[in-house]
């Protein structure tokens, strides 16, 4: 009887222990699963932060570059203004020089020159300036009157009358579009320059739009990602691209209109 009771208790104990072991093992499995999930989340989070940190570095550099660009462009604008002002000042000063020279030519009628030797070796005795008409200088001398081209005049008179300065030479070209290179021979008319500039602007905008479309396609690909965080940011990026693309399209329409106007203006010349 005693042995039977012990055996019964022993069996009960083993059954209890077996149940306990199963319970413990199940609990450990659950914790293991939780640990795996936690590890996965941790790894995802670390990767995400790494990506975000890289993106932050990119943005910081882009921010620094855009700030620098803004400053440089402001400086360029200010300098462009100063250069334009200087060009106008140069035009005014050249006009002033022309007026001074014209006044000198006008006032030289009757100027006593005495004996002068022309560039071809002719000597004019007891000469004086009769008048200066355009580039022709009339000189009265002991043997009559002579009309001289600038090339024949003595050095002193050449320097006095400055025939190399004329109304045409005082008209300086004023650059209005620094982006468009105008050849020094002046082959491009202002209307052609305007058309070129408008076309250049349109091309730039179209190129910008194509880049944007490519970026947007990338964002669309990212938005189908399995990671909800990545999907969220991709969606945000896509929205921003859409806004920028709409704005660009409006600008392209305006630029196209500008090109058409410039073409019409050139055609009606």
């Amino acid at each position: 009887m005693d042995a039977k009771a012990f055996a019964f208790i022993l069996v009960l104990l083993f059954v209890g222990a077996f149940g306990g072991i199963i319970y413990e093992t199940t609990a450990i499995d659950e914790i293991n699963r939780e640990l795996q999930t936690t590890n996965l989340s941790l790894s995802n989070l670390e990767n995400h932060i790494k990506g975000q940190t890289e993106y932050l570095e990119l943005r910081k550099e882009a921010f620094a570059l855009t700030s620098a660009l803004e400053i440089i462009r402001k400086e360029a604008d200010a300098l462009h203004g100063e250069v334009e002002e200087l060009r106008q000042r140069k035009t005014r000063t050249e006009k002033s020089l022309l007026e001074t020279v014209l006044k000198t030519r006008e006032d030289s009628a009757g100027l006593q020159l005495g004996d002068i030797t022309l560039a071809n070796g002719t000597i004019l005795k007891n000469s004086r300036v009769n008048k200066v008409d355009g580039t022709i200088t009339s000189i009265l001398h002991s043997e009559g009157i002579v009309k001289l081209e600038p090339s024949l005049l003595p050095k002193e008179l050449k320097d006095r009358f400055r025939f190399e300065i004329s109304d045409e030479s005082s008209q300086l070209p004023v650059s209005k579009k620094p982006e468009v290179e105008v050849p020094s021979n002046g082959a491009i008319s202002p209307k052609q320059a305007r058309l070129n500039s408008a076309k250049l602007g349109l091309e730039k905008l179209q190129m910008e739009l194509s880049h944007l479309e490519r970026d947007r396609a990338q964002a669309q690909t990212d938005s189908s990602s399995t990671s909800p965080t990545r999907r969220y940011y991709a969606k945000k990026r896509e929205d921003a691209y859409n806004q920028q693309a709409n704005s660009l399209r409006r600008r392209i329409d305006e630029a196209t209109l500008e090109v058409r106007k410039a073409e019409q203006a050139l055609g009606s010349r």
Binding site: A3, I28, T38, T66, I72, E82, T100, P178
Partner: protein, 116 residues
């Protein structure tokens, strides 16, 4: 004799169960601690993520470069180089024009002094 054997078997059984329970419980605790540690790390990283996100937002709107890509930096560097060259060009033009204007003014003065 039988009773002694039964006691021995009973004691061995108890010792085995106690040993198994102890090791399993210890393992479970270890795992729980590990999970708690990882979750604490996750919380810390979430905080770090928020800080990075705030730093990203603080860089403001970069216009057409708002969704910054590595190639944007190349574009920007190109634009900076181009704008710098433009500034240098304007500086050179300014210097040349200033000299020209000064030369013309000197010329006017000399002409006036000499011939009028």
């Amino acid at each position: 004799m039988d009773s002694d054997l039964n006691h021995r078997i009973f004691r061995m059984g108890l010792i085995t169960i106690a040993a198994l329970s102890l090791t399993q419980c210890n393992k479970r605790e270890q795992l729980k601690q590990e999970v708690a540690l990882k979750q604490a790390q996750i919380e810390e990283l979430k905080l770090q993520q928020k800080q990075v996100q705030t730093a990203i937002e603080n860089t403001g709107n970069l216009g057409r470069y708002n969704t910054t890509q590595p190639k944007h930096l190349e574009d920007l560097k190109g634009e900076v180089a181009s704008a710098t060259a433009e500034v240098q060009n304007y500086k050179r033009q300014k210097e040349e024009l200033t000299k020209e204007v000064d030369a013309i003014r000197t010329d006017i003065e000399q002409h006036r002094v000499k011939y009028r």
